[in-house]
Amino acid sequence: MSKITRQSIYILIISVFLFIFVLVFSFSSLIPEGKEYRKEKTQLLAQRQDLQRYQDFEAQTYDTLKKLQANNRHIIAAFDKEFLPERFVKKYKSSFNSLDVTKVQTLDLEEGFSVYDVKTSSQISSPAVFYKFLDEINKSDWIIAVNFPIEFVRDGEVLNSSFKMKVYSNSKDLNRSKLVKK
């Protein structure tokens, strides 16, 4: 039997060392890391799908919002517009013989909207003018509700009418206005 050379023993020792190292390394570090990789990957896939759902719903909601905004553009603008008596008078003066708007008084919030109480007095030639006015007010730049008490007083050929109007607009609350502006 040939003598086992020293080199063979060294090779054997090195091999054993390295082999043990490989085993230890594999089992202590590599395999757990691999497991975690698998776990994380599946988790991440689920998360991505979830995110996709969220994004879809966001897009949907956005569409809805945009549609609403488009459809109700006039109303939204009307609520946003500040009521200026001069402008009101200017706009509807033509219909009336004379128009006078007085007393802009801020009332309490009604249904979350701020309300101005406006007293109007005007002179009209016939009730038909008033009817027309009521039709037109729905298309005005503001959201105005004509309110009681309404008075018609005949004065010769003309009617002196006076009525109250409630002008609705967005609440001047900071929170609300921020949201609206967005």
């Binding site: 050379t5 020293r6 080199q7 060294y10």
Partner: protein
């Protein structure tokens, strides 16, 4: 620190090759990290290249820290007593030779071509060290070369390496190649001698008996008492009947006889070479010649007593022989190289 780690982890293996014409010796020393060491020696026929290679490989495989050293046996190797470039030119052409200058001021060299040939011959296993026999010789007799002038000879299978030192300074060095191994070489040498010289020899043989002093030394007479213990003519190898007769009784005895005869021949051949080298040393103006009285021989092959006798009787030299294991010396030199 790295070296210590290497030594701790691995065994250091020194493989030393002495390659002669006929046989190749592989001497291996294993140095373990705990300090212990093992030696191995293998002798191969120089033609058995595969076996030699396998043997070296077997040892080399034992450890990555192995050093293979070889003795430079090429005929072109030599040494000169100078280190300066100008002086070197007197002896050889510097560009063709690889040389190393020692701290003592002498240089040993060998042919670059021979080095490459050697490395090529062993390219399969590779070589780490190639040592000159001159440095081996000087290291072997390190304790003696610092003394008075003496000649140092390393006797190898195929060659003789000879150097003359005084006070650690080299005076003369030569590599003597024993090309012809047969007995005829002796005759060749004899034939080289001039007629005049031959005449001189005859003259020197005459002894004037009148000049001979007789020493009536009691001690000498006592020596003769031991004559009974002396070998008879028959017992002496040189005068053995078997040795003289070329026709042998049995093959085995003849083989032994032949070897004995050869041993004698070889030693004589060696002696002739040494003699002519010394003559060259005395006569050549290149070398500072001084009269040599002592010879130290490093015997790596196992010489007979004859060479010593020849040198003592013919050249009147004091001869000291030290047994040397060339492989071991190569090994020690390798270790010294790595320190």
């Amino acid at each position: 620190m790295f070296n210590n780690l290497k030594k701790f982890l691995y065994t250091q293996i020194y493989i030393n090759i002495i390659a002669n014409a006929q046989k190749t010796v592989i001497y291996v020393e294993e140095l373990h990290s705990n300090g212990s060491s093992d030696n191995f020696e293998e002798v191969f026929n120089s033609t058995q290249r595969v076996e030699i290679y396998e043997c070296i490989q077997a040892f080399a495989k034992k450890s990555p820290i192995h050093y293979i050293s070889i003795l430079d046996n090429s005929p072109s190797c030599g040494a000169i007593p100078t280190c300066s470039k100008e002086d070197k030119k007197l002896y050889y052409n510097s560009s063709d030779f690889e040389n190393i200058c020692t701290p003592e001021g002498w240089t040993y060299y060998t042919s670059k071509r021979d080095l490459l040939e050697l490395q090529g011959h062993y390219h399969k296993v590779g070589l780490d060290f190639i040592f000159s026999p001159f440095i081996i010789l000087s290291n072997f007799f390190i304790d003696k070369i610092s003394n008075d002038i003496a000649m140092y000879i390393l006797i190898n299978e195929d060659n003789l390496v000879l150097s003359v030192f005084e006070d650690s300074k080299l005076f003369f060095a030569v590599n003597l190649d024993m090309e012809n191994k047969d007995l005829d070489s002796n005759d060749e040498l004899l034939m080289d001698i001039d007629d005049d010289e031959e005449l001189d020899l005859e003259e020197s043989v005459d002894i004037n008996l009148e000049n001979v002093d007789v020493d009536d030394d009691v001690e000498l007479i006592d020596e003769f008492d031991d004559m009974e213990d002396l070998d008879t003519f028959d017992d002496m190898d040189e005068f053995s009947q078997d040795a003289i007769e070329e026709d042998s009784v049995s093959e085995k005895s003849s083989k032994d006889d032949f070897e004995d005869q050869n041993g004698f021949g070889v030693d004589y051949h060696r002696f002739s070479l040494i003699q002519s080298a010394i003559n060259n040393f005395y006569q050549d103006t290149k070398y500072d010649s001084k009269f040599i009285e002592t010879v130290y021989i490093a015997d790596s092959v196992g010489i007979s007593n004859e060479l010593k006798k020849f040198l003592e009787e013919e050249m009147f030299l004091s001869v000291y022989v030290r047994k040397m294991n060339l492989g071991h010396e190569l090994c020690e030199l390798s270790k010294a190289e790595l320190r």
